[in-house]
C-alpha cells in the first residue's frame, strides 16, 4: 500500500501551472492542484484536472510502430530511427528542406523542444516547426 503525490508541471500549455500527480500503488490515479503554486494559486482548468489521463491510457504508444502493407508493425528503436533518418534525408534531397514540417509537443520538456527546433533548423534546414501548446 503506497499513496503519494508527485509535484510536476501541467503539460498542456505554456502557463505552467504546477500540479500533483496522485500515485496509488504505482499507478497515477488523479490530479490535485498545487495550492502553494504562485502561478495557478491552486486553481486548474479542465485540461489540468485531466493532465494524467494519457499516462496509463490504453491507446498510448509505448513502442515504435512502422507502417508496412497498410498496417502498423512493432519495431525496435534503432530500426525506427534509421528509417526516419533515411526517409528525411531522401525527402530533403528530392524536394528540399521546406517539404518537411515538424510538430513538437508540450508533453516533452523545454530542453527537448529546444533540441527539436535546433534539429529542424540546423539539421533539416527548414523553419517549419510548431507545437501543440500554441493552439
Amino acid at each position: 500500500m503506497e499513496y503519494r503525490n508527485v509535484l510536476t508541471t501541467c503539460v498542456y500549455c505554456g502557463t505552467g501551472c504546477r500540479l500533483y500527480l496522485e500515485v496509488l500503488d504505482g499507478q497515477v490515479v488523479g490530479i490535485l492542484p498545487a495550492k502553494t503554486d504562485p502561478v495557478s494559486e491552486g486553481k486548474l482548468c479542465i485540461k489540468g484536472w485531466n493532465a494524467h489521463a494519457f499516462i496509463h491510457h490504453q491507446d498510448r504508444l509505448t513502442k515504435p510502430l512502422i507502417r508496412g502493407n497498410g498496417r502498423f508493425i512493432e519495431a525496435g528503436w534503432d530500426e525506427a530511427l534509421d528509417l526516419v533518418a533515411e526517409r528525411l534525408t531522401a525527402i530533403k534531397e528530392k524536394d528540399g528542406p521546406d517539404a518537411i514540417g515538424v510538430l513538437s509537443s508540450a508533453k516533452a520538456t523545454n530542453e527537448e523542444n529546444y533540441l527539436l527546433q535546433k534539429f529542424t533548423r540546423a539539421v533539416l534546414g527548414t523553419n517549419n516547426i510548431d507545437h501543440c501548446a500554441r493552439l
Binding site: M1, Y3, N5, L7, Y20, K35, G42, K43, C45, W49
Partner: protein, 266 residues
C-alpha cells in the same frame, strides 16, 4: 507553528499501531496529502494549506479495504467523514481520526461555524477557537429575490466549466456525474447554461456539503460557491432540522423520505 510538534507526536504514536497515517507533507517546496508509513517521514509533516483528505481516504480504502489507517482532520473534514460514512463511501470502523483545531485566522478565512473536530475523536491538536458568523450569508439574505438571482447569474457567467468544484469535493463521488450528462447540461458551451450546471450541483450538495470550501478554493473564476452552499445548508437545517455533518446517527433529509415511502410498500 505551535500545532506542528504536538501533531508529530500524535502521528508518531499512531504509526506504531496502524498501517499508515494520511496527512499533509511538505516536500519540493509544496504541500500535498501523503500516506505516512515510517517515523523518518515525519520531519516532512505539514499542517497547511489544507487539502480534501477525506476524498483521499476514500481512494485508499477502496483499494485496501482491510487497511488500518489514521487520518488528520480539521472540523470540516470530520463533518465530511460523517456524511461520507452515511453513504457507505468510507469505513469509519477502520480509521483513527486525529483532530486538528483551526487557528482563529483560519476560522475567519472560512467563516467557519465549527472550526474544530471532536465528533469522531477525543484527540484534538491545537486550541479550539470560536465559531465565526457568516456575514456574507446574512448580507445576502437581506437582498431581494431579483437582486439575488442577478448576482448568481453574473457569478456563473464567469464559469469556465473546469469541473474543479466537483473534482475537489469529497462529497462528489457518483460514478456517473449528472454534470457530464447532456440530458441535464448542454455540452459544448462555456459558460455552461444557467441554471442547470450550477444549480444541479448545488442541489446535489443538500445534506452533504459541510462547508470545507475546497470547491471555492479551486475555482479559477472565484465564484463564491461556499456562500451558495451555506445558504442551502441553512435551509436544510431550518426545514428539516438536519445539521449537515453534525451527527452520525441523524438521517439525511433526502434519504429519509425514500425510506418512509419504501416502508409503505413502494
Amino acid at each position: 507553528m505551535k500545532r506542528l510538534e504536538p501533531l508529530k507526536k500524535v502521528v508518531a504514536e499512531a504509526l506504531r499501531e496502524l498501517d499508515g497515517v494520511l496527512a499533509l507533507r511538505a516536500k519540493w517546496g509544496g504541500v500535498a496529502p501523503h500516506l505516512f508509513k515510517g517515523q523518518e517521514e515525519l520531519e516532512e509533516l505539514a499542517i497547511a494549506p489544507k487539502y480534501p483528505l477525506p476524498q483521499t481516504l476514500r481512494l485508499i480504502q477502496r483499494a485496501h479495504p482491510e487497511s488500518r489507517l489514521g487520518l488528520v482532520v480539521r472540523g470540516c473534514e470530520e463533518r465530511g467523514l460523517i456524511e461520507m460514512a452515511k453513504r457507505n463511501q468510507i469505513d469509519l470502523e477502520r480509521i483513527r481520526v486525529i483532530g486538528l483545531a483551526c487557528t482563529a485566522e483560519e476560522a475567519q478565512d472560512c467563516r467557519c461555524a465549527r472550526p474544530y473536530p471532536g465528533l469522531l475523536t477525543d484527540i484534538i491538536v491545537g486550541e479550539k477557537t470560536e465559531a465565526v458568523p457568516n456575514e456574507l450569508v446574512e448580507e445576502f439574505l437581506s437582498k431581494g429575490r431579483e437582486e439575488r438571482l442577478e448576482f448568481w447569474k453574473k457569478q456563473f457567467a464567469k464559469c469556465i466549466k473546469c469541473y474543479g468544484c466537483r473534482n475537489a469535493c469529497p462529497q462528489c463521488f457518483c460514478p456517473e456525474c449528472t454534470l457530464e450528462d447532456e440530458i441535464w447540461v448542454e455540452t459544448g458551451r462555456i459558460p455552461p447554461p444557467f441554471p442547470s450546471f450550477h444549480l444541479v450541483r448545488a442541489m446535489h450538495t443538500v445534506g452533504k456539503c459541510v462547508g470545507c470550501r475546497e470547491c471555492e478554493l479551486s475555482c479559477p473564476a472565484n465564484i463564491p460557491l461556499t456562500t451558495l452552499y451555506a445558504l442551502i445548508r441553512r435551509e436544510v437545517e431550518e426545514m428539516f432540522g438536519y445539521e449537515t455533518g453534525g451527527d452520525l446517527e441523524a438521517q439525511p433529509p433526502l434519504v429519509l423520505p425514500m425510506e418512509l415511502e419504501s416502508g409503505d410498500g413502494i
